[in-house]
Amino acid sequence: MSRQRPAGLQKVLNVLGPFIGLALVIALFSLIPEVQGRFLRFANFKSVATQSVIVALGALGMTFIIVSGGIDLSAASNIALSSVITAYAINAGAAPLVAVLLGVLTGGLVGLANGALVTRLRLIPFIVTLGMMGIARGAAKWIAGNQKIDAPMTWANELMARSPRPSWLLLAPGVWIVILLAVAMAVVLRYTVFGRHVFAVGSNESAARLCGIRTSRVKILVYSVAGLFCGLSGVMEFSRLTVGDPTVAVGLELDIIAAVVIGGGSLNGGEGSILGTMVGVMIMSFLRNGCTMMGWPNYIQEIIIGAIIVIAVTLDRLRHRGE
């Protein structure tokens, strides 16, 4: 019985862990006299939130994949491909809504292909998505004719406007979309049968299969959902850039994976939470924002983010050893 209390506390700390990191980062910049007055302003939070949208959407899907014991290296290429498709469709005269849906769908199809290859060919996700990373990036450049696509401005470009058009929205529509989807996905992952199956597959796939879970179906669904999120993220990328750029977001998959890992996701599968992931995204965005405001050189920023990933995972390990 005496172990009960520490275990409860442990649980609280597990949830709070990433928040402490976020608080540390915000506190750090709030205490530096040069920027403190500006850093804590609502206008700044607004831009940090807008800047987080693209990684956040990718990370929502990535959380599902990592919890299921997989990985998706093609996320960033998928974002680029979807943004190019959206721009292409708008340029070809499609209604913005159709273009946006096409963009999201493209992401979903790439995800579906990932899932199908992982389950049908029984290849490890690392290899499948490594290949897809090149395929999607190449396809994006091909469709865009090896250059960026200038599309006419439509309401699709308002999704990521720092100052939203009806000003009562306060935040860019993209930010609200992320918040809504994050809440929805948190519920799906925690409280639905599908969510529990994702955890089961990630914790012990053979046990899950023996328990009667159709693991292949779960995995295909996980990769497809993650693909849809990348597609939406690509739409947001297009909205932000106002052009379809096939070279955008190179290396962004690592930021996305880092966000999930900082938020408590385990690359061995079976662990991770949407809330943690979102906090992981915010930690990286605030760091970037603060470093830029300070005018610190980029290498400092890169070193800090690298160190945070290692520290976050180390703390995670220590917590688990305690359990």
Partner: protein, 333 residues
Amino acid sequence: MKSLALKTMAGCLCLALASSACAKKSSDAAAPREGRTLQIAVIPKGTTHEFWKSIHAGAVEAARELGVEVIWKGPQKEDDRAQQITVVEDFISRGVDGIVLAPLDDRALMRPVQDAVRERIPVVIIDSALQGSDFTSYVATDNYKGGVLAARRLGQLLGGRGRIFLIRYQEGSASTVQRETGFYDTVKKEFPDLVLLVRDQYAGATTETAYQLAENLISRFPDVEGVFAPNESSTFGTLRALQESRLAGKVVFVGFDSSPKLVQGLRDGHVQGLVVQNPRKMGYLGVKTMVAHLRGETVEKVIDTGVVLATADNMDDPDIKSLLSPDLSKIID
């Protein structure tokens, strides 16, 4: 034990946050706008190329002369449009007095620049063009003319006939597209007997990607006689590929921009011409124009900073030398 320590830490943090929130109000009220040193953010396309270091030096030089503060910050990943937008937004948040920006994309950076102007932060564009007219002034090289100079040099050395590559830099980069267009137009108009074996291959952002492209092109067309590359990384990547395939010195090679390795190439006869801009002047005039605008003076809408062709013959002239190998050590460390 551990959890207790963590808890205490969290407690301290909350306190710190609360106190800083209070401090914020008082410091805001106390900060007078008048009499403060002007803060100018200078945002390059990247930070590792020699070219940007020269711009940095020029900007710092102007800052010292005029008594203003320059904050130098590029996108975290070289040539990443999305991240450059982020940097501009962060400086709007910081509330700098002015932004000097080398836009990575003539279209994608329009909205952040509009945002800045809406928040009463003027923007001076350097190096590459931006669509629209929200900016205060455009300080840049006449890039088209640079391409023309390169084409004439190549055409003359080849006697007006031969098989050549036009290597392009990257999709959507306005300054290099203008150089490529200047080169292409001049070849078509003045040297109709030059055959362009390649004219729509992109070298990409880094020396490595340019190196690979040039290697592949050379193995496909080993009989190439002339090459033009439109910026520092593509020129150096191509030079490496020519040297590796033992074609350096046999092929007429005209590049753009300079770096110690390229100057060495010029001296060794591996490079027959380098079109050089005056990035230091660009950085200098960018900041100077901004300060003049902030102090209420009227400024020119377009300011040309000039291009010259450096060759093995004129490379030791003091004027050319200072453009080829600027001594930045006194300005930035």
